[in-house]
Symmetry: C2
Subunit: 304 residues, 2 copies
Amino acid sequence: MKAIGDTMISLNDYLQERKTIVDEALEHFLPSPDHYPPTIFESVRYSVFAGGKRLRPILCMAAADTVGGQGRDVVAAACALEMVHTYSLIHDDLPAMDDDDYRRGMLTNHKVFGEGMAVLAGDALLTEAFQLLSRQDIMRHVSATRRLQVINEIAYAIGFFGMVGGQVVDLDSEGKDVEFGTLQYIHSHKTEALISVSLRVGALLAGSDNEELSALSGYGKKIGLAFQIADDILDIESSLEVLGKDTGSDEDRKKATYPALIGLESSRTKAVELVEGALLDLQYFDHKAEPLRGIAKFIVERET
Amino acid sequence: MKAIGDTMISLNDYLQERKTIVDEALEHFLPSPDHYPPTIFESVRYSVFAGGKRLRPILCMAAADTVGGQGRDVVAAACALEMVHTYSLIHDDLPAMDDDDYRRGMLTNHKVFGEGMAVLAGDALLTEAFQLLSRQDIMRHVSATRRLQVINEIAYAIGFFGMVGGQVVDLDSEGKDVEFGTLQYIHSHKTEALISVSLRVGALLAGSDNEELSALSGYGKKIGLAFQIADDILDIESSLEVLGKDTGSDEDRKKATYPALIGLESSRTKAVELVEGALLDLQYFDHKAEPLRGIAKFIVERET
């Protein structure tokens, strides 16, 4: 998992540049703790600016570029997706859920601000995502009908039949022997759904047609699962120093993962196959999809 | 607080009829536990169908009627508002927040389904509200631009500078000596904001103009505060049998309330003055505002 050649270096530059754009936009869209009540803004900003890779917003912007739009024009929606992602991490880390003390090398939100404030920080971020998506002073180039569709697709992807559903099954499964079908359900809903919709949102806002959307959805689902499998492999292989969170914690809790159910080597093979499939989905697109191709490879090669 | 004359009896019929419409619509819009994963639908439905008065959806529909629209045409948005309200109750009751064991005579969500599932039930309801508000197969008579505005107003009213903000200050204040200004902040954000926006949403979806909106906002804020004060008075005066939740719990926790800060009698006077002010706001409207007038009076006369 090294293979960092010329392509990877320019991808790294690309990712860094996009991360900076997203970080600046998040800084702009999230109120500062100068506002009242300061605690909630401190709590929310603590987790939003905890060093995330900004994968979902970068995918959203890259999808817009891929279908011939401008990534920068969809940065508000990209930020909303990152807010949703951060809300899900804050709530997942709660003692009543995964009970994690560390994330990205920092104490989890509830360890710093208390459980009550962590619940509210998650609630506020989820709400703020929809507030941002529905603001009429931004993304004026997109029709209101298309924007309603974007809101609806995101809400569906993160609700009962998406991310929340995945987390429910994950929670219900802890400490139990989990079948492979259940594990697939958890991954496809908890991780793939938000990653896949991030691509769709970027494409929809850039005016893509159904064929483009369908190709990007396929790509998104495959890299979403590859990302989750890579995460589970990293959980076993990495050390706390590199990854910034307790590793081996999945195993300690007997949590269902690909490595646990089909073994490390088969998991690696599966992740590589998924990336190959994702690249096939991108055949539909020209050179503008190059960043998405690079990101697909990066997902299984990353070390954190 | 008796005075149940002819008007009140017909208001009771009105409220019952509207409650039935809202309950049936919620039944329609909320997936049944036949869906997977069943736990989340059981948890969500347990709290949504726990005997709420449906005040917010009824106000939303009544506002639509008041400005010349049809309450029934906005029932989907009305249901979304009730989902938001239920999410806030489930999260507020959590051990890390108000730590309540009972609500409306039933065990709170987390006492039945566990804390993790209660967090997820709240998350799912909040998400589903936005999913419903953005569905393009309903409320087709309203322009997409107007619907975006509705989503934005709701998100604002329940976010950082609305309901969540109020809950944050409430959480920060527990066990402390609270100044009157802080109490006013908590009430105006935690309770008034959602009630007021419920009226605005009904009016907006029914095509109201700015003057009508402004009058209904004024009415909403006043009855929202009156409702909260009446709640605090009931908390002291009622018994568990009547109210269905632990009473005196505010006092036990030294929670800031109007009765605690300005006394019972002054609180009653304040609530009555607010209702009188709310009725003045309605002078702008004809007989179609009669239900809103009745509801304003009902709020300070109710016993549960």
